[in-house]
Subunit: 424 residues, 2 copies
C-alpha cells in the first residue's frame, strides 16, 4: 500500500482540480506518484498520474564540455518560471557532485537524477570495471543526499542485449544510461545490476520515499524503429518490475518512447497502461518525425499532446537543441513552453476542468478585446505582451493584423446596431 | 468532368509520389485540385488532395498599417524558400492593387486572394452600400489579372446570420471576410451575393481554371465554440455548393476550422470529407488551445498534424504573431516551418513513401554521426548546421549534449568489439 504524507498531498493539491481523496486513492493504486525524498522539503511538490493535470519535466545539467553550475541553475530557474513541474539534473563531468548539492538545495520542485551517470563520470574504461555493488551504492548515496526521483534502467536485460547484437534497428540504443548498461553487460557477461539487484533498490526507494522512474533503454530512436520487438520486450520487463515495486509499496513511473509515428502513439500509451498496471507514464517526446533537428520542441509538442491526450501523465520536454548540442537558456525556455502547450491542449480533452476554463477565459477577453486579461490567461504571460507592443495599432483595442477590419469588432458593431433597431 | 492540362500535371508530379494517372483520376473525381489561372505560368504548381503529400499555404499582404510591398514580397520569398507550396495575398489598404500586380508577376507558386478584401478597402461604410454586382465584378477583375485561387465566403447565408444574431458563441465570427459579408447582409437584408450569384462565380472560375476555396465564415474562434450548430450548418451549405461546382467542372477546395480541441479534429475531417464529397480540405490550424498567443505556430502544428493525418490535404500556416499583430519576416519563416513539420509528420502516417524515406535517411546518417547528410535530409537544411556550429564539440563526430558519452558511439564500439571477439 503506497501512502504519502497528507501534508505533501495538500501541497500538491494547489495544482490540481482533483480531490485529496482522489489523489490518495490514485497513490494507493499505484496510478499516481508524488516524488519527494524524506530528506527534502519541496516548495512546489507535484502529483503525477491518472486524473491529474499533465506534468512536464525539464532536463538540465553539466556536460563534459559545459561546466558552469551557475548557468545550469539559471536554466533551472528559467524552466520553473516557464512552468516546469519537475527538474532532472543529468550532469556528467567532474563537477557533477557539487552541482547536485547545489541543485538539491535550490530546486523548488521535485528533482530527479539518472544515477548511472555518476558512475559513468570517471570514464568509459572505469565504468566497464564497476562491480554490481557500485550500482546499488550510488543509489544509496544519492538517496541520502535527497534526490526525489531516479531514472533507473532496470528493464534492459542480457536477453535484450542479445537481441541488440542482432542489430535489426537503424538506431540501436539511444538512451545514454541504456548504452552504458548494455556495454557493461557485454563486457562483463553479467546481468544488469539494476535488474538483478532490484529488491535492494526497492528497499532504498521505500526508505527515502523516492519515486523510481523505470527508464526505457530500448526506446526507438528513429520512426522506423518504433514499437518493435526490443521496445516491447523491455516494456514487459518493466511491467513485471512495476508489480514487484507496487507489492513493496514503492512508487513507480514508467518511461516511454522516443521516436514514434503519430498513428502508433495511442497504442503505445494503451500498451503501457495495460502492461504496467496503470502506473504513471512519462514520455520522452514522443517525436513524430526524425527529420526536424532545430525544431524538435515542436515535433515533441505534437507527439506529447497526442500521448497526453491518450493518457500519458508526464512529458519530458524536448528543446530545439535536441540532436544538435547541449541546450542554452533560450532553448530551455522554448522547450518548456512547447511542452506546456502540449500538456495544456491535452488537459482540455482529458477533461481537466481548469484547462478548458482557461481557454474560455482568454477567449472571452479576446472577444472583448481586453488585452490585459488576454495576457493574464495566456500560458506565457510576458511574450504576447511584448509581441503586441512591438507593433502598436492606431486603434488601441484591435491588432495590426486586421486593424479596423477586425472581424470581431465589425460584427459586434452591427449586432449592436441590430439590437437597437429591434428594440426601438 | 474536371480536367487540367497534362503539362501542368507533369510539373506538379515533381513534388509527388503519385502517378500522373492517379492525379488525373483525383482531379476528375473532385478529390484533387491544381490551382493555376490560364493567364499565369507558374514555376512550381502543386496538386492538392487525396493521396498526395500535404501542402501548406503562407499568408502575406499589406494591412491598413503596413504598406511596404517590398517587405511583403520578401516575406513571400522567405515563405517559399522555407517550403510554402502556395501563397495567399491578403492585402488590404490603399496599395492592394499594386501589391497584387507585383505578386502575380513574381510568385513562383500558386497565388490565392480573398477578393472580398478588395471590396472592403474603401472602408466599412462604402462596403455596406455595395451592390450585388460588385461582388461578382471583383472576381472577374482578379480572374483576368491572373489569381490562381480565390477564397469565397459563399457558405454564410441569411439563415446563418439569424443564428449568429442569437449569439450563442464566445467568439461569433472570426473570419474577416465572413464578418464583412454578415454585416452587409444585416444592413441590406439581402442574401450573401457569393451564395445567390454562385452560378456566375462558377462561370468565371471555369473560364480561368481558378480553384474556388470555399471559406468557412463560421469557423469556431474558440475551443468552446468548436463543432457547433453554426459551423455544421455552414458545412452542409458548402457541401451542396461543392456539388454544384463539381457538376460544372469547377475545382473546389473547402476551408475548415479554426479552434478545435484535439479530440474533435478527426471527426471534423471525416465530416468534411463526407459532406463535401471528398473535396480537398484546407484547414486553418486547427488551433488546439486558445491560450498560447505568441506560440500559435506550435498550437497550429499540433492541430495541423492531427488533421492532415486524418485526411486534411492543405494546411494554412499559423505564425507566432497570430492573435497579436501582423507577422514579420521571422514570424513567416517560423510559421512555414511549423506547418512543414506538421505536414511531414502527417505524410509519414498517410503513407507517402518519400516522407518515411526521408526519416530513414536522416536516421541512418544520425547512426553514423554523418552530420552533413543529417543536414541534407533535414526539413530545414540551414538552421541545424548553425545550431551545431554554435556549440562545437571536442570530438568531431558527436555533439555537446553527450560528447564522448554518446550512446550511439558507445554501443557501436562495444558491438564492434563483440563482433571481433566472436569472429576470432
Amino acid at each position: 500500500m503506497i501512502k504519502v504524507d497528507r501534508a505533501i498531498i495538500d501541497k500538491t493539491k494547489k495544482l490540481e482540480d482533483a480531490s485529496v481523496e482522489a489523489i490518495e486513492k490514485g497513490l494507493e493504486a499505484g496510478h499516481i506518484a508524488i516524488p519527494q525524498n524524506i530528506k527534502r522539503d519541496i516548495d512546489r511538490p507535484c502529483a503525477i498520474g491518472r486524473g491529474l493535470a499533465t506534468k512536464i519535466n525539464a532536463n538540465i545539467g553539466l556536460s563534459l564540455e559545459a561546466s558552469s553550475i551557475d548557468l545550469e541553475l539559471k536554466k533551472m530557474d528559467v524552466a520553473i518560471a516557464a512552468g516546469a513541474d519537475t527538474i532532472m539534473d543529468l550532469s556528467t563531468g567532474p563537477l557533477h557532485e557539487k552541482m547536485r548539492k547545489r541543485i538539491i538545495s535550490d530546486c523548488a520542485v521535485p528533482l530527479g537524477t539518472v544515477p548511472v551517470y555518476e558512475l559513468a563520470c570517471d570514464g568509459k574504461n572505469k565504468f566497464a570495471s564497476l562491480k554490481e555493488d557500485d550500482f546499488v551504492d550510488v543509489l544509496q548515496k544519492q538517496a541520502e543526499e535527497g534526490v526525489d526521483f531516479f531514472t533507473i534502467h532496470s528493464g534492459i536485460t542480457l536477453e535484450a542485449v542479445r537481441l541488440v547484437e542482432k542489430n535489426p534497428r537503424i538506431m540501436n540504443i539511444v538512451s545514454r544510461g541504456g548504452a552504458f548498461l548494455a556495454s557493461w553487460m557485454m563486457i562483463n557477461g553479467k546481468e544488469n545490476p539494476f535488474y538483478s539487484r532490484f529488491d535492494e533498490i526497492l528497499d532504498i526507494a521505500k526508505k527515502y520515499n523516492i519515486v523510481l522512474s523505470l527508464g526505457d533503454s530500448l526506446r526507438p530512436g528513429a520512426i522506423a524503429d518504433a514499437t518493435d520487438e526490443l521496445q516491447l520486450q523491455e516494456l514487459v520487463v518493466l511491467g513485471s518490475l512495476q508489480q514487484r515495486a507496487f507489492d513493496k509499496g514503492v512508487q513507480i513511473i514508467i518511461e516511454g518512447p522516443g521516436h514514434v509515428p503519430m498513428d502508433q502513439i495511442e497504442s503505445n500509451v494503451r500498451l503501457q497502461k495495460t502492461i504496467c498496471h496503470g502506473a504513471p507514464f512519462y514520455v520522452l517526446g514522443p517525436l513524430v518525425t526524425d527529420a526536424a533537428p532545430g525544431y524538435d520542441h515542436i515535433v515533441g509538442a505534437i507527439g506529447g499532446a497526442i500521448a497526453a491526450w491518450h493518457g500519458a501523465d508526464f512529458l519530458c520536454y524536448v528543446t530545439p537543441a535536441e540532436h544538435l548540442r547541449l541546450p542554452d537558456i533560450e532553448d530551455v525556455r522554448q522547450g518548456v513552453m512547447a511542452s506546456k502547450i502540449a500538456a495544456h491542449a491535452a488537459d482540455i480533452v482529458k477533461g481537466i476542468p481548469s484547462a478548458l476554463q482557461r481557454d474560455i477565459n482568454i477567449s472571452k477577453a479576446r472577444a472583448k478585446r481586453d488585452w490585459e486579461k488576454q495576457f493574464q490567461f495566456s500560458l506565457d504571460k510576458e511574450l504576447p505582451k511584448r509581441v503586441r507592443e512591438g507593433s502598436p495599432s492606431r486603434e488601441t483595442d484591435v491588432c495590426t493584423m486586421c486593424s479596423e477590419y477586425c472581424s470581431i469588432k465589425i460584427l459586434e458593431e452591427n449586432l449592436e446596431k441590430r439590437k437597437k433597431e429591434k428594440s426601438s
